[in-house]
């Protein structure tokens, strides 16, 4: 059972419910796979994620990050905190403050699906898969390619980002009844995603 969050505010409760529903809508096999790699816990927080991650690490008796790392993590909307096997989502991120409630719900679900896809990619991609990142990014849909480039990810992170973004997009599509390989998704990315996530739609 995923770790439940502290529901200190109404908004927090709503965001947590969104992530819970996003989790429930994953294919059964994917939930089982995420549980098998320990990526089935999450917490929605209302603070920058560098600060939140530090608190989690310190409470677990682990060393905190350098200030520079914390500052970078503060920019994230979601993270897969692999040391503690938990997904953290910052529902008070400034980018989410600019949107209406419907958009906010959709995007929080998208962040959760992205982070679960990311966790599977990190756990299961080979070194060759990682090394193929620049090529995979070139084959990715334009929207994914632009986000990854504009956010400043490094080439060794491209594969994980492509898998995570594609996974989130396929979950959105699945929710609307879409199945099978989309016409807009390159064979190589779809094959890798199926292998990494055991996606079987």
């Amino acid at each position: 059972m995923p770790l439940r969050t502290k529901r200190s505010t109404h908004t927090g409760a709503k965001a947590d419910e969104t992530v819970e529903l996003a989790w429930r809508r994953l294919p059964d096999s994917n939930r089982q796979l995420l549980e098998s790699i320990g990526a089935h816990q999450w917490q929605v927080v209302r603070q920058p994620l560098g600060l939140a991650a530090e608190a989690f690490l310190l409470s677990a008796g682990m060393k905190s990050y350098p200030l520079s790392t914390r500052t970078e993590l503060d920019q994230a909307l979601g993270i897969w905190l692999r040391e503690l096997q938990i997904v953290l989502i910052n529902e008070s991120h400034p980018k989410l403050a600019e949107v209406d409630d419907v958009t906010r719900e959709e995007f929080i679900a998208r962040i959760a699906w992205h982070e679960w896809g990311h966790a599977l990619s990190i756990a299961r991609c080979s070194e060759d898969d990682v090394a193929a990142g620049a090529r995979l990014l070139q084959l990715a849909p334009a929207g994914i390619r632009e986000r990854v480039r504009e956010a400043g990810y490094r080439p060794r992170e491209y594969t994980h980002e492509v898998i995570a973004e594609t996974y989130a997009l396929l979950m959105l599509r699945r929710l609307k009844g879409g199945s099978g390989q989309p016409s807009w998704l390159h064979d190589e990315i779809y094959s890798l995603l199926k292998a990494m996530t055991e996606w079987n739609d």
Partner: protein
């Protein structure tokens, strides 16, 4: 255990908005005849 990579986070570029990301998703879904309108977690309507 390997330390967290600083970019294990989901980050948007300084000039990217949430709406831009969702608009790009919607364009792909629309291209294959799927209505991209977010309707929460309700079951898809049978066509």
């Amino acid at each position: 255990m390997e330390r967290l990579n600083v970019r294990d986070g989901y980050v948007l570029g300084a000039n990217q908005r949430v709406e831009d990301i969702l608009a790009a998703d919607a364009e792909l879904l629309r291209s294959e005849g799927i209505d991209p309108t977010w309707q929460g977690f309700s079951e898809p309507q049978a066509s």
